[in-house]
């Protein structure tokens, strides 16, 4: 990463942060502006585009039928995939998912799964045989930092936008009926990532900050203010105190965002 931002730039960022400022004029604990547009992919059962500053993520949701996992015969299946498509960054290359896109997909998945956001029990068609499978495809279109938060918010917005066909079971067969129902949901987790630069914590790091930051830590939290997923990343560490501080900041930010988004 050192080739992305010169050491001069690093010093500049550090000095700003020590004075409580950031390169893009935000305060240390400010998130960038978030814009959410839902339903823009008409052919998908659900979709949402999120702009977090210049970071742009499109999520499409497809609902199909398939088999449940053997150990949860009465639950529908939810699966998250992330593609870092090469038009999003000069550093992304075409090819099968690498460790970065796999980690991204799994962190987004964990926030949704562990908070039981999708009510998978209501997605069972026939126990052990046929359930709805919800494919959440995260498509990163422009990488300007903090892909985790942008993707997690876009994934939730797309799921909240998802419509499923009405259906009934007749003689064991699935019959599609008129009209649509929203995807059944039980919770609306919000994901907030904190970066650490020189022992300072910053919210929602963008690309230039990511290039110089030590580590990041992500917290997903639900309506009750409980934590439902954590992921530390980056090749440095946090002190226990920094982790507790970061968790408080992330939970506060989630409350703030929840109000703003009306989730």
């Amino acid at each position: 990463m050192s080739s992305l931002v010169t050491k001069v730039r690093l010093k500049q960022i550090e000095q700003l942060i020590e004075n409580g400022k950031r390169l893009d004029d935000r305060g240390l604990l400010d998130t960038r502006e978030i814009k959410i547009e839902q339903g823009i992919i008409e052919k998908a059962e659900g979709s949402a585009r999120v702009l977090l500053g210049k970071t742009e993520v499109l999520v499409g949701v497809k609902v199909e039928t398939g088999e449940p996992f053997p150990d949860t015969p009465d639950d529908g299946v939810m699966t998250v995939n992330a593609e870092l498509v090469p038009l999003a960054s000069p550093n992304f290359e075409p090819g099968p998912p690498d460790e970065n896109s796999i980690e991204l997909a799994r962190v987004v998945d964990r926030g949704i799964r562990e908070s039981h956001a999708v009510d998978t029990e209501k997605l069972c068609i026939e126990s052990g045989k046929k359930v709805f499978v919800v494919f959440v495809d995260v498509y990163v279109l422009n990488h300007d930092g903090n892909l985790i938060d942008a993707s997690a918010i876009a994934a939730m917005a797309a799921l909240m936008n998802t419509k499923m066909p009405n259906y009934e079971i007749k003689d064991g067969d699935l019959k599609i009926k008129q009209g649509y129902t929203p995807l059944p949901m039980k919770s609306h987790p919000i994901t907030v990532t904190i970066g650490k630069i020189n022992n300072h914590l910053i919210v929602d790091p963008w690309l230039e900050e990511e290039a110089v930051m030590d580590s990041r830590i992500t917290f997903a939290s639900n309506e009750a203010g409980n934590i439902c997923a954590i992921q530390k990343g980056g090749n440095s560490y946090f002190t226990p105190q920094q982790i507790l501080e970061a968790s408080k900041i992330a939970l506060d930010k989630a409350v703030e965002l929840r109000k703003k988004l009306n989730w």
């Binding site: 823009i40 992919i41 008409e42 052919k43 998908a44 979709s47 210049k54 742009e56 499109l58 499409g60 949701v61 497809k62 199909e64 995939n81 593609e83 498509v85 090469p86 038009l87 999003a88 960054s89 000069p90 075409p94 099968p96 998912p97 494919f135 495809d137 498509y139 279109l141 422009n142 990488h143 300007d144």
Partner: protein
């Protein structure tokens, strides 16, 4: 294509989506939509929604692919899993590999490859929603992305299909016509050079029908060409205003 098509055009010559035989679908073009790419464009052509980005001319990676006497153009045409009715695996299909190749060969004639030896230009196309004619819309957007990257071009490349539905040669097939029609003829064209850079055909056409379809597709291309130039101008006019 089908052997026999259901009636897709009514007695008045109006198609399923309300168009006349030689009418284009609504079309929207935007240039410079992605901040990380050297050039980019977004197209809505009917319900097709497609992003294209160009990177370069830049050092080739891996290096051994660089050519001592010319620039290398690489293209990837890729469909988002949610862009079609049934979820598509993100791994490239054989269709996507072929389309990546013909799109590259449709764009290459517009470039002065010999001007930038040892470098490469990468064009990435992402189909976010597909509605028939994605390869044509992809070329139209990709040419804009290359132009937006500042790569010198002989002309813009613009693409549009014609085809045969019922007994009629029609312009710019949409999804249902693509599936139930009798023939599809995608064409890429450089209008000011009168040069066809992509031509494919599926289905069955009499020679005179083929000639009619080819001409109709080129007429369609010329109309889109005007929108393409406008989109490019709009972006750079805005830039100019900002500069002043």
């Amino acid at each position: 294509m089908n052997e026999k098509s259901e009636k897709l055009i009514d007695k008045k010559g109006i198609r399923g989506d309300g168009r006349k035989a030689d009418e284009l679908r609504p079309l929207k073009l935007q240039v410079g939509v992605l901040s990380n790419a050297d050039g980019s464009a977004y197209i809505e052509h009917g319900k097709n929604k497609i992003l294209a980005a160009a990177f370069g001319p830049r050092e080739m990676h891996p290096k051994h692919l660089a050519q001592p006497d010319r620039m290398v153009l690489r293209c990837r045409y890729h469909m988002a899993p949610f862009s079609v009715q049934e979820r598509k695996s993100p791994a490239p299909s054989r269709r996507e590999v072929e389309l990546s190749k013909v799109i590259k060969e449709a764009l290459e004639p517009a470039l002065f490859l010999e001007l930038y030896p040892r470098t490469g230009v990468d064009v990435f196309v992402e189909v976010l929603q597909a509605d028939g004619g994605t390869r044509c819309a992809a070329i139209t957007a990709a040419a804009l992305a290359i132009a937006d990257a500042g790569v010198p071009m002989r002309d813009l490349v613009v693409a549009c299909a014609a085809g045969k539905v019922d007994d009629t040669v029609v312009l710019d097939l949409y999804d249902a016509e693509d599936k139930l029609g009798l023939a599809d003829v995608p064409v890429a064209y450089m209008p000011s050079l009168n040069a066809v850079t992509l031509l494919q055909m599926d289905g069955i056409l009499k020679p005179n029908e083929f000639e009619k379809a080819l001409n109709m597709a080129m007429e369609g291309c010329k109309k889109i060409y005007e929108i393409q130039k406008e989109a490019l101008k709009t972006k750079y006019m805005v830039v100019k205003e900002v500069d002043e």
